[in-house]
C-alpha cells in the first residue's frame, strides 16, 4: 500500500469541461514523484485535488487515497471538510510558487511560524520561542532574530520561500507537495532552496510530490515523473529515462526544446577551464 494512491482521477469545471482526465499515480512513503507539464496541463489542479482544495464549482471523481499509517487511510475525493482539515498540515501539506500567498502580510514571521508549532506540539512561552528559532535555522535562515521579528515584506523572496517551507514542515507531514516552489526565485537562490528541500525531505523521510514546468529542475530533485498534457498523463517513468529517452511525441518535443535552449550554454560552459 502506498502513502498516496491516485486512481483514475478526473476533474471537471463547473461548465463540464474535462480539466484532468484519467490520471493515476502513486507515491510510497519517503518517495519522490514529479508532475511535469506546460501551462494548462493540469499539474497544479492535480495538487489541489490531492489537498482537497479544488476551487468551488470544480468536480473531482475517481479516487485519491492517503494512508500515512499514523491516521486511518482516507479517501480525499468527496471527503468532508472537517476530515480534510485534520489531514492538511499534519498528514500532507503544500508549498506554493509565490510565498507571499502563504504568509499573512500583517503578522510578524515569528508569530506566523509559532501558530502551527504550538498547535502541533502544544508548546508555549520560552519553549515555543526556541522551537520557532530552531525551525528558522533548519531552513538555513542566517539572521534568525531579525527575520523572526520581520513582516513578510521586509525579507527577500528567497527568505520568504524558506519561511513558507518552515511553516509547511512545522507539523511534520508525511507528504510534502511543492508546486513550482522555486519558479519565482533568482537562479542562485533557486539552487539553494532546491538543495534545502532535497536535504530536508531526505532527513525527515518525507514523501515529495514536486510540480514544475522545468525539466532540469525536476531532474535534480525527483526520482519518478509523470508528464501531463492537457489534463492527460502521456508518459510516466524514472526521471532519468524520461529526459534521456522520452517515448511519447509530446515528451520528446518538450525535452528537445529544453535541450536546444540549454545547448548553447552547455557548449560554452563545457569548454570552460
Amino acid at each position: 500500500m502506498s502513502l498516496l494512491d491516485v486512481e483514475a482521477l478526473h476533474v471537471r469545471s463547473a461548465d463540464g469541461r474535462a480539466l484532468i482526465s484519467d490520471v493515476s499515480f502513486s507515491i510510497g512513503a519517503g518517495a519522490r514523484l514529479g508532475l511535469i507539464g506546460e501551462s494548462g496541463s493540469g499539474k497544479s489542479l492535480t495538487a489541489l485535488a490531492v489537498m482537497g482544495l479544488l476551487p468551488a464549482g470544480m468536480h473531482a471523481s475517481g479516487s485519491i487515497v492517503l494512508d500515512t499509517g499514523a491516521t486511518p487511510a482516507t479517501e480525499i475525493v468527496g471527503a468532508a471538510e472537517r476530515r480534510l482539515n485534520g489531514l492538511r498540515g499534519r498528514a500532507m501539506t503544500i508549498v506554493f510558487q509565490e510565498p507571499l500567498t502563504a504568509l499573512d502580510p500583517l503578522a510578524r514571521i515569528g508569530r506566523q511560524l509559532a501558530e502551527p508549532i504550538a498547535r502541533r506540539r502544544g508548546l508555549r512561552g520560552g519553549a515555543l520561542r526556541r522551537a520557532v528559532i530552531t525551525a528558522l535555522e533548519e531552513v538555513r535562515i542566517t539572521d534568525v532574530d531579525r527575520v523572526a521579528r520581520a513582516y513578510p515584506y521586509e525579507i527577500s523572496g528567497g527568505q520568504r520561500q524558506r519561511v513558507a517551507i518552515a511553516m509547511a514542515l512545522a507539523c511534520e507531514p508525511a507528504l510534502l507537495i511543492a508546486d513550482e516552489p522555486t519558479t519565482a526565485l533568482d537562479v542562485t537562490v533557486q539552487a539553494e532552496v532546491l538543495a534545502l528541500l532535497d536535504a530536508l525531505v531526505s532527513a525527515r523521510g518525507m514523501a515529495l510530490l514536486f510540480i514544475s514546468h522545468d525539466l532540469a529542475v525536476m531532474a535534480g530533485i525527483s526520482d519518478r515523473v509523470v508528464v501531463l498534457k492537457d489534463g492527460h498523463a502521456v508518459e510516466a517513468g524514472a526521471v532519468r529515462d524520461i529526459v534521456t529517452a522520452p517515448r511519447h511525441p509530446y515528451t520528446r518535443s518538450l525535452v528537445a526544446a529544453a535541450r536546444r535552449l540549454g545547448g548553447a550554454l552547455d557548449t560554452l560552459t563545457r569548454t570552460a577551464p
Binding site: E38, S39, G157, D186, V187, T188, V189, Q190, A191, L194, H213, D214, L215, A216, V217, A219, G220, R240, V243, T244, S253, L254, V255, A257, A258, R259, R260, L261, G262, G263, A264, L265, D266, T267, L268, T269, T271, A272, P273
Partner: protein
C-alpha cells in the same frame, strides 16, 4: 570596432532619497548584434533598459543614440528616437490592450509616430500591419481578432509585430520569453534571431535566463547591485567567467542529465 548605435556612458540612477539603483554603468551596443543584460532581481537590469529607452533620465552620465544624447524631455527628438528604438515587455498579458483588435494594437506606433500622413491611406497602414504579422509568423486573419483569443506565445508575437512595424533599428526587450513555456520560448528566441539576421535589427535583452542569453546574444553584460561586474563577448563571459558573481550565476543554472 564601429561606433555603438546605443551607448550608456558612466550612467548612474537613483530614485529621490534612495541609494543609487545604478552606478557608473558604461556599455556600448554595437549595431546589428544582440546584447544581453543579465543579473538577478534588484541588480538594475530593467532600470538600465529604461534609461536606454529614454523612459527615465540618468541622474549622472549620459545615454547616447547614434552619438547624440538621449533627451527624454525633448518631445520632438524623442519622437524620432522612438521611430528607431522600440520595445517588448515581459508579460504579453498586460502589455496588450484587451479592448482593441490586434490590427489597431500593431498600428499604434504608425499613428503615434505620424508615419502615415493624416488622412493618409488606410490601405497603407493595413499593408504594414499585414507585413508585420507575416514577419512574426501570425496568420493574416489575426488582425481582426482580440488579444484574449491568443496564447502567451502568440501574444508575444503580436507585441513583437507592434515593435517592428515602424522598422526600428534597435529592439529593447525586457525578459521577453520568461513568461512562456519552454517550447514556445525556443520559438520566440528563433524569431528574434531571425529578425537580427534578416533585418540587421540590434537587440538589447534583459534576461535572467542564461540559456536564452547563450542562444541569442553575442555580447553579455553582468549586473550585480547596480554595477556591471563583467562584460564582453558571451562566449568569453559565460565560457570563461572572471567575476565570482558570474560564476555563481552559471553554477546555479539547473542542467539536464
Amino acid at each position: 570596432m564601429t561606433a555603438p548605435i546605443l551607448e550608456a556612458r558612466q550612467v548612474g540612477f537613483a530614485y529621490r532619497g534612495s541609494p543609487a539603483t545604478l552606478a557608473d554603468v558604461s556599455i556600448g551596443v554595437p549595431a546589428g548584434r544582440a546584447v544581453a543584460l543579465v543579473g538577478e532581481s534588484g541588480a538594475g537590469k530593467t532600470t538600465l533598459l529604461h534609461l536606454l529607452l529614454g523612459l527615465k533620465r540618468p541622474t549622472s552620465g549620459q545615454v547616447l543614440f547614434d552619438g547624440n544624447v538621449v533627451e527624454p524631455r525633448d518631445r520632438a527628438w524623442m519622437r524620432t528616437f522612438r521611430r528607431h528604438v522600440q520595445t517588448v515587455f515581459q508579460d504579453p498579458y498586460s502589455s496588450l490592450d484587451p479592448r482593441q483588435r490586434v490590427d489597431r494594437i500593431i498600428a499604434e506606433p504608425i499613428h503615434s509616430l505620424g508615419l502615415v500622413r493624416r488622412g493618409g491611406s488606410r490601405a497603407e497602414t493595413a499593408q504594414r500591419v499585414a507585413a508585420a504579422l507575416d514577419v512574426v509568423g501570425l496568420p493574416e486573419d489575426a488582425a481582426r481578432r482580440y488579444p484574449h483569443e491568443f496564447s502567451g506565445g502568440q501574444r508575444q508575437r503580436i507585441a513583437i509585430a507592434r515593435a517592428i512595424v515602424c522598422e526600428p533599428r534597435v529592439l529593447l526587450a525586457d525578459e521577453p520569453v520568461s513568461a512562456l513555456d519552454v517550447s514556445t520560448r525556443a520559438r520566440i528566441v528563433d524569431l528574434l534571431a531571425e529578425l537580427r539576421d534578416s533585418r540587421g535589427l540590434t537587440i538589447v535583452m534583459v534576461s535572467h535566463d542564461l540559456a536564452v542569453v547563450a542562444t541569442l546574444c553575442s555580447y553579455t553584460a553582468v549586473l550585480e547591485r547596480g554595477r556591471i561586474v563583467e562584460q564582453g563577448d558571451t562566449a568569453q563571459v559565460l565560457g570563461s567567467p572572471r567575476h565570482p558573481y558570474t560564476r555563481r550565476l552559471i553554477a546555479g543554472v539547473p542542467r539536464l542529465p
